[in-house]
Subunit: 339 residues, 2 copies
């Protein structure tokens, strides 16, 4: 019954929904980039230096694209979605900077992390600066309901990270508890990014909630695929080394499934692997074999697909236009990363 | 010409303006404490645990008192100053949590720091949570101008800390550059705390600016006294060990004055002391002797007095009542800590 996933297959040939989304919002994204560059200026030279390393180096801009897309879906004609989208990217970057400190990560997506290059102190402080700037930008956009959504997301993200920290070395954590964690640490910002686009467009409440649901479910799917990819082999495309989570003793859904479906010996292995994590090729191979035996990776992708389907359905409220269709394809694009 | 400061004299007998301020705002402070306790609740158990350690353990509540005082001076009759004051204390606590990580501090005010007890990761994340909650509270208070002031302060504080980080091992930094740093990292929050009290009370612009000026100048004086105290000996009262800044190679005003007033040999000593900091009683004694010879501590207090005088003058716009008089006495109280 073992399902086969070919993790080594290249992403080429898959439907490039993200590229199409970039094309649909080319002009607005350029304005977002300007707003991003504008707000990292500072008399403290380290701030633009580190910010540039992370945020200026480009990137998918997935979260700001959610804000822009949501605003357009909701028929927005103003300019505040630009500032809001830039603020969302700042929030995301601030959490990346702090996460690397929290995880002692030296590499992310094949690049040295900021803490690796500039140290923990600078990473913490520049993260704080970016978060402060994010709030400044949101305030400038002037929507209290949008501010409420994004400030709540900021607290919830940190809460999710603390929950993950507490669950760090516990292989016995339930799937539901783990979903609560990624709902907070990852999906909350996806949800907020989409929802505020609708909020500033003064969309109907049902539409705002539908946008939030799209973002939230996409975010969960996205994180689950990320979890699977950490045990996959598309290093070349993603620049993330295989087994980083494993080497850090991070309990993610593939581990949870392999643990719960494993025999006593397997469980002992997993308990030891997350309690005494270290970088070890043999142990990683054993982990991959156990995951393969229990369909842990294939079913992590299946779970992601479930949330992806919910994300697509949430967009049913909106007219079938280019943006709506591309957002629906974006779900499949995110999931296809695993193949 | 050496001025004598008796750092060992107890604080007893000095005019207790802070105690009087607490008495003047007893009922409102209780509501602030309730708001503080309410917003540290979380399903992630570490959050209330760490928050309680720092914020719940009491403290001077100096910054929230500035917000309450400013609101009353400006004749405010509403309830939002309570939420705002609690948010200000959350911002302050978040910066303390992150500062201890940035400085690798194990003790603060005679107590083990959160990072000492729970580690860096938890301190960073709980700090982020508190900052997120602070913004949520401010949003709940519903004043965009107040949000603008406090979000700007959040960015400026981080900017000041980054500037300090860059200046860390440089004894040659000018007094003006150092003042820019403490203006940002300490005084900005004092200024914002006072200003938002006026803003939510819809005070005249001149009054709002006067409140900000009071807070800002009080903040600078407060930080300079803190700098002097680090080389003083009222460990018992403040619970801060002498020479902590020195052991960390932190360049503060006493060092800057002693450096600029010193001879070639003294300058060599200071350059080495901040470049290769370590805990060493003999070196600390040498530092104290050089400060004594150059009046560095006495004149740091004199500089503080200068800013304190500006703070007092800023309150001249307001009617002479209990609150105004106590705020003026508060300046002297803060400076008297040095004696």
């Amino acid at each position: 019954m073992t399902k086969i996933i070919n993790f080594s297959e290249s992403r080429r040939g898959t439907d490039d929904a993200l590229g199409d989304l970039h094309a649909l919002f080319g002009e607005e994204l350029q304005q977002v980039e300007l707003a991003i560059a504008e707000h990292m200026k500072s008399a403290a030279a380290l701030i633009p230096e580190i910010s540039e390393h992370l945020i200026g180096a480009g990137g998918k801009r997935l979260r700001p694209l959610l804000t822009l897309s949501a605003a357009r879906l909701a028929g927005y004609g103003g300019h505040d979605h630009i500032t809001m989208a830039a603020a969302v990217e700042y929030m995301h970057t601030a959490t990346l900077l702090h996460d690397d400190v929290v995880d002692d990560s030296d590499m992310r997506r094949g690049q040295p992390t900021a803490r690796n290059l500039w140290g923990n102190a600078a990473s913490v402080l520049v993260g704080d600066f970016l978060l402060g700037q994010a709030f400044r930008m949101m305030v400038a956009a002037g929507s209290l309901p949008a501010l409420d959504i994004l400030s709540s997301a900021a607290a919830v993200i940190a809460e999710g990270e603390v929950m993950q920290l507490a669950a760090m070395n516990n292989a016995q954590i339930s799937e539901d508890s783990y979903l609560d964690i990624i709902d907070a640490k990852t999906a909350a910002l996806f949800a907020a990014a989409a929802e505020v686009g609708g909020v500033i467009a003064a969309a109907q409440t049902a539409e705002q909630k539908a946008l939030a649901a799209y973002g939230r479910n996409l975010g969960i799917a996205f994180q689950l695929i990320d979890d699977a990819l950490d045990y996959g082999s598309i290093n070349r495309v993603l620049g993330k080394n295989i087994g980083e989570d494993f080497a850090e003793g991070k309990v993610t859904l593939p581990v949870i499934l392999a643990y719960h479906r494993g025999d006593a010996e397997a469980r002992e292995f997993w308990e030891d692997a997350v309690k005494n994590p270290h970088n070890d090729g043999d142990r990683l191979n054993r982990a991959l074999a156990l995951m393969n035996k229990t369909d842990a990776l294939a079913d992590t992708v299946e779970r992601a697909r479930h949330y992806g389907d919910k994300a697509k359905d949430a967009l049913g409220l909106f007219p079938t236009n280019d943006v709506q269709k591309t957002l629906i394809r974006l779900v499949d694009f995110c999931i296809a990363r695993a193949y």
